[in-house]
Symmetry: C2
Subunit: 162 residues, 2 copies
DNA sequence: TAAATAAAAGACAAAAATATCTTTAATTAT
DNA sequence: ATAATTAAAGATATTTTTGTCTTTTATTTA
């Protein structure tokens, strides 16, 4: 379904949404360990996601790292796919035809007509913050190393300004 | 969604289902032109699909080429994906996690729970022959070059034996 | 100001996917 | 039998994706 790039991008974003806030940033090592991805490669991907500091924010130097604002948490998961250039999955023809429409449908078109918008809606409507919340509610990325104790002050509470 | 390999495999299969029968075989050149794919690469892919002559059949030499039996036309489209080793899309975790289940769900699990089976069912229930039929009913692969005249005797009628 | 820290940026490497070309084997027609 | 035709098989080439390593830049702390 998705490339490694997109997978890591989504996983990293959700993890950052869950574990960070403007005064508790996370380093690339911690992120890549938690989401089970190669560190330097993930760093590259995060560069795509920090462009414009719209989705993920970052600061360099001591106590630096990656974090998300409360604003950013409201963005749809689709934004992640867009930033890594993989939103095509949700828009293009399943069979990869350049031309595929109601007038000129590919053989799968009519049967996929219902599903495709549902899939797209899923990524449009799911807010990153919601997904991060569900992670708290039991969903995990890899092995449950480092959970249980880490009761952090729940991001996106009230003080958020940006 | 799918790799080029899978896309070409599906397109070629549907095309062969539509245009061939045991005594009218199609060559790789015609196929690759019709489905807009590189010929030699498509040939390689067809080798995967002819293993065991279960899905696509082939014979060499003059008047040889690729074709499908009436039996084969009843197979689900899923079979194509299986033969090129890409049925994972329908089965594995959207985020690529090794472990992802009801007990240990990834962040997208609960929201994708409905859609995934529907997608899978689509490929399980769609018979290749049906798709080939829809092609006649207006669906196309590429530009409409070579349509209109080619009224061929509608395969899978009655004489099929194997 | 100097040293330490951490991401950004760039160059490079390995692996996988995509694509092409050549040779071989099977089949048919002459 | 020979030549012609067509897919199968194998080898090779190209491109893209994935992954690593090094250098630079920004930031903080001492």
């Amino acid at each position: 379904m998705f490339s490694k790039t997109a997978e890591y991008a989504i996983r990293a974003t959700i993890f950052i949404a869950q574990k960070s806030d403007p005064d508790h940033k996370i380093g690339i090592e911690e992120i890549s360990k938690a989401i089970d991805s190669p560190a330097s490669f993930t760093a590259k991907i995060l560069q795509m996601l920090t462009r414009g500091q719209e989705l993920i924010s970052s600061v360099r130097g001591p106590n630096g790292g990656f974090f998300m604002t409360a604003e950013a948490r409201k963005l749809p998961l689709l934004r992640v796919l867009e930033l890594v250039g993989e939103d095509g999955v949700l828009k293009k023809c399943v069979l990869g035809l350049k031309e595929c429409s109601e007038e000129k449908p590919c053989p799968l078109h009519h049967r996929y007509r219902k599903l495709k918008p549902e899939l797209a809606r899923m990524f449009e409507e799911m807010q990153i913050g919601q997904l991060a919340g569900e992670l708290d509610a039991g969903a995990t990325f890899v092995g449950n190393k480092g959970r249980g104790a880490g009761k952090r002050p729940m991001p996106g509470g009230s003080k958020a300004t940006r």
